[in-house]
């Protein structure tokens, strides 16, 4: 087993959810150490660790913190727990199993960046994790770990959970800020970046749950201990949420750079009996798909996957076996993005809907051969042309699915049924 449990070591313990259970395993022992450090030392340590944002973009965390202006304005720390990407469920487990780990990471991070107010923005559907977090926050307040003068350090930090109303795009940092401000969850133009002008137009750092949780480990054991795992450019471990046609779907923590195929075969028990690997989306549904052949060459790090034209993203590995119809799969994904586009930028608003309509025409047997190229043209003209990455998220799967599995699309158009399943859309779904 290549799993290295830096973050998830105690996730199997039910009591780890509570303050007592967390403390029993050394929880909140890093805080006094952090308070003795200068904030800049913490930022430097995080920079030295090579920690990159685990939400999807993979931006170096310490560098992001360094963008905060030094003008004495109030600043905010937002934890992005709006986990809405299809296939992604790692943050949910962290919040359910180790809420205090996140809280401790947030306190250290807030101390480092000089923030006295933080929010955990959670996907609205995550009712149980929200409940767990709220209980943990109350415990932390009662124990003097949140609020005024934490552990006698003179540092104040208040933390609240904000329950999102349920929009995928609120996981995008500026969309999340809009939502937190009470507006419709729509991304904002950058620049200005949130670090300069974010929540309530004040400097704001937005980090993913996993990123913030990793900060505790980095400060506790040091940047070099963290760097022992992973690769030069992709340091540390990462939680991968594996779903699809594997024997044991679930969350697995492995060092970055770990071979994708080993994750499937060793950690997840391989493909379901009698089935062959067909394709994998390695980083959440917005990442371009890899064919089985490409999967064999892929390592789970930012660089290796970028080299194959895809991305690590949020680490949501969606595995498809040879029974999957790629036209149908793409139809599901495209429908999701058409539903979730915030409606702000024209290419995304209209393009996602257009892609959805074309795919459903094909799926319902009304497709034309030129529709396959049209899918590519529409997706091409959505990519990189909008405020946020949702347009890309919708376009990239289309481009990769249609390019890599074109024969299935052509077959579907000609025959009006799935090449893999041999059935029509109606038969597939009823």
């Amino acid at each position: 087993m290549a799993e290295i449990k830096v973050l998830s070591e105690h996730y199997h313990l039910p009591e780890y959810q509570t303050l007592a259970g967390y403390k029993a395993k050394g929880g909140y022992e890093t805080l006094p150490k952090a308070f003795k450090m200068q904030p800049q030392q913490i930022i430097d340590e995080v920079k030295a660790s090579g920690l990159r944002g685990r939400g999807g973009a993979g931006f170096p965390t310490g560098m992001k913190w360094g963008f905060l202006p030094k003008n004495g304005e109030p600043r905010y720390l937002l934890c992005n727990a709006d986990e809405g990407e299809p296939g992604t469920f790692k943050d949910r487990m962290m919040m359910e199993r180790a809420p205090h780990q996140l809280i401790e990471g947030m306190i250290i991070s807030a101390f480092a960046i000089g923030s006295h107010k933080g929010y955990i923005y959670v996907r609205g559907e995550y009712v149980y994790p929200i409940d767990v977090l709220n209980k943990a926050i109350k415990e932390a307040y009662d124990a003097g770990l949140l609020g005024k003068n934490i552990m006698g350090s003179g540092f104040d930090f208040d933390l609240d959970v904000y329950r999102g109303a349920g929009a995928y795009i609120c996981g995008e940092e500026t969309g999340m800020i809009s939502s937190l401000e009470g507006l419709k969850g729509q991304p904002k133009l950058k620049p200005p970046f949130p670090a300069v002008q974010g929540y309530l137009r004040k400097p704001t750092i937005v980090n993913n749950v996993e990123t913030l949780a990793a900060v505790t480990y980095i400060i506790k054991d040091g940047a070099q201990a963290y760097r022992k795992h992973g690769t030069e450019k992709s340091a540390g471990t990462k939680l991968f949420s594996v779903s699809g046609n594997v024997v044991k779907p679930g969350n697995y923590e492995v060092p970055l750079g770990y071979p994708l195929i080993d994750l499937i075969n060793k950690e997840c028990g391989g493909m379901k009996p009698g089935r062959k690997l067909k394709a994998i989306i390695p980083g959440g549904s917005s990442a371009p798909v890899l064919t089985a052949e490409e999967c064999g060459k892929a390592n789970l790090d930012y660089e290796s996957l970028a080299g194959l034209g895809t991305m690590l993203g949020s680490g949501a590995v969606i595995v498809m076996d040879d029974s999957q119809c790629m036209v149908d799969m793409l139809g599901v994904l495209t429908h999701f993005y058409a539903h979730e586009s915030c409606g702000q930028c024209t290419p995304c608003r209209e393009g996602t809907g257009w892609l959805d309509k074309i795919l459903h025409s094909i799926l319902e047997g009304r497709g034309r051969l030129q529709d396959i190229d049209l899918l590519i043209k529409v997706a091409d003209n959505m990519k990189g042309k909008t405020i946020c990455a949702l347009s890309d998220a919708a376009a990239l799967p289309v481009l990769s699915f249609v390019t890599k599995f074109r024969d299935e699309f052509e077959f579907y158009v000609r025959e009006g049924r799935s090449k893999v399943k041999g059935t029509t859309y109606a038969e597939m779904h009823h």
Binding site: L189, E340, Q344, T346, R349, G384
Partner: protein, 521 residues
């Protein structure tokens, strides 16, 4: 002052200028819907794309600042293709209802199509159906299907009127603008949303379906609705005036004007106007009525004559009539009829002022010049004791802002002789009998002159059109009242008999290929 190159031309701009603003400076055309100079940058229509040397991707010009040495291009094939696709995205769900759309002729989408479109559509799917004829409030109607969600109107209510009635609802291609629950679009500036709508999604209830815009001419003027003096464009044709829109003036009104100012065209139109003069109950031409009144003024001069002025005329007109009264009729009994005095100094923080006259400062300036210090109490006393025998009144032009009109009329009609100069009809006035003269006057769109606004800014107004050609200006009336004759107007410049003044030049026609490709349509 960074220098950049736009389509090969070097342009120097102020620090912090966006590319789209730099292109306004350089005169280069650039497609855009959501960008508006009076609103924040939204960057959502994605049409104002440019290529910047050294940058692999096209960028939007509205949210990219010019930096020193930047090389910008918006004529490359890459940009054209992006704009063409951007247009396609805008059009796939847009209804093809130009023939019945109120914005036809001044629609950004039509313009863009003529510039970048003209190709076979690739969309074979059914369009998304949205709501039509949505009643947003007392002034504006929405056609959601036509809306391209540029969000200008939403930003206007957030940033300018600060009333926040509008919002974007739903997601994806189901997104529609609308009003928040129980909050109609009902503010003093609501019709600006219609002006800034680049397509025919928001239409003015007042204007929609009344005229095709290509049947209208326009002329610049200054609003006479209040002492702000918003710069405006008046749209008219031989049937009358149809609408008023704001014209940008940074010093005065920026890009906006209030809804009540837009109504000014209504009292200018012929159906609201006095067309004939009346002299002691006999209808006659306005000039003849003034001449007739001059006989009375000859016989009663000095302190027996009083002049009552409203602040809705031009400086030149005040100069002419006050001079006539002071120098020829030897009276300084000139009175300022103040409407709504208690709110004269109020201001809503944006444009609308309590002083509902365009030229209070101008009137006061001329009165001061002639040493006029009479107050309304003097007039009331003079009328009560009979020392004032003849009263000459000029105004009001916009009767709606003079709520005490009828009381004042009652008071002034105590005079032996009443000479009333006014543009609009008024039943109470025309019902007066006895020694009453009524002289139809021209309105602010029918004459040249100067208004001085609340801040002392002098603004020239030019004649836009003639609605009641027989009506007089106060200057003309002053001449006639003093027994003089009007000079003959200047001859219009010579024009061949076969050429209309508004005839479109051939070169301008060539730009419209429909004219030359009729057979292919």
């Amino acid at each position: 002052m960074p220098k950049c190159t736009i389509n090969g031309k070097e342009v120097e701009v102020k620090e912090g200028t966006s590319i789209i603003e730099a292109m306004q400076v350089s005169g280069d055309r650039i497609a855009h819907y959501c960008w508006h100079p009076g609103l924040s940058v939204a960057g959502v229509c994605r049409l104002c794309v440019v290529e910047i040397e050294g940058n692999p991707r096209v960028q939007i010009a509205c949210n990219t600042m010019v930096t020193e040495g930047m090389k910008i291009n918006n004529t490359s094939e890459k940009v054209k293709d992006t704009v063409k696709w951007g247009l396609d995205f805008h059009l796939i769900n847009h209804p093809l209802d130009c023939p019945i759309c109120d914005q036809a002729g001044e629609c950004g989408l039509q313009d863009q199509y003529m510039e970048y479109g003209k190709y076979d559509p690739e969309m074979a799917e059914a369009k998304v159906k949205k709501h039509k004829v949505v009643d947003l409030g007392p002034t504006v109607v929405l056609d959601s299907e036509r809306c391209i969600l540029c969000s200008r109107c939403v930003r206007f209510t957030e940033e300018v009127s600060k009333t926040n009635e509008l919002g974007l609802f739903n997601r994806g291609d189901r997104t529609e603008i609308g009003t928040h629950d129980g909050m109609p679009l009902d503010n003093k500036y609501s019709l600006n949303t219609v002006d800034i709508c680049p397509v025919g999604a928001l239409t003015s209830k007042d204007f929609r379906f009344r005229q095709r815009v290509w049947y209208l001419k326009d002329g610049d003027s200054v609003c006479n609705g209040c002492s702000t003096g918003c710069n405006i464009k008046v749209y008219y044709n031989k049937e009358g005036l149809f609408r008023i829109k704001p014209v940008y003036n940074e010093q005065v009104n920026g890009h906006w004007m209030c809804d009540s100012g837009r109504n000014a065209y209504k009292f200018v139109n012929r159906e609201a106007r006095l067309l004939k003069g009346i002299a002691r109950g006999t209808e006659m031409a306005p000039g003849a009525a003034a001449k007739s009144a001059s006989e009375v003024l000859k016989s009663t001069s000095g302190d027996a004559v009083a002049l009552v002025l409203t602040a809705q005329y031009t400086v030149e007109e005040y100069e002419a009539i006050i001079k006539t009264f002071v120098e020829e009729f030897k009276t300084k009994k000139v009175f300022f009829w103040i409407n709504n005095k208690e709110t004269f100094d109020s201001f809503d923080g944006l444009l609308s002022r309590g002083d509902k006259n365009p030229n209070t400062k101008g009137l006061l300036k001329v009165m001061e010049k002639y040493g006029i210090s009479a107050t309304w109490t003097d007039l009331s006393a003079g009328l009560a004791n009979g020392s004032i025998k003849t009263v000459v009144v000029a105004g009001p032009e916009n009767q709606a802002v003079f709520p005490e009109y009828n009381e004042k009329l009652k008071e002034l009609s105590k005079a032996q002789n009443l000479i009333w100069m006014q543009a609009g009809k008024n039943e109470a006035l025309t019902a007066l009998t006895g020694n009453v003269w009524i002289i139809p006057m021209k309105t602010f769109v029918e004459k040249d002159g100067t208004f001085i606004n609340h801040s002392g800014l002098e603004q020239k107004i030019k004649k836009v059109t003639n609605v009641v050609s027989e009506a007089l200006t106060v200057t003309e009336a002053a001449l006639l009242l003093s027994g003089k004759n009007l000079a003959m107007p200047m001859m219009a410049p010579f024009m061949p008999t076969n050429q209309r003044p508004d005839q479109v030049e051939l070169e301008a026609r060539k730009k419209n290929e429909f004219v030359f490709r009729r057979g292919s349509l």
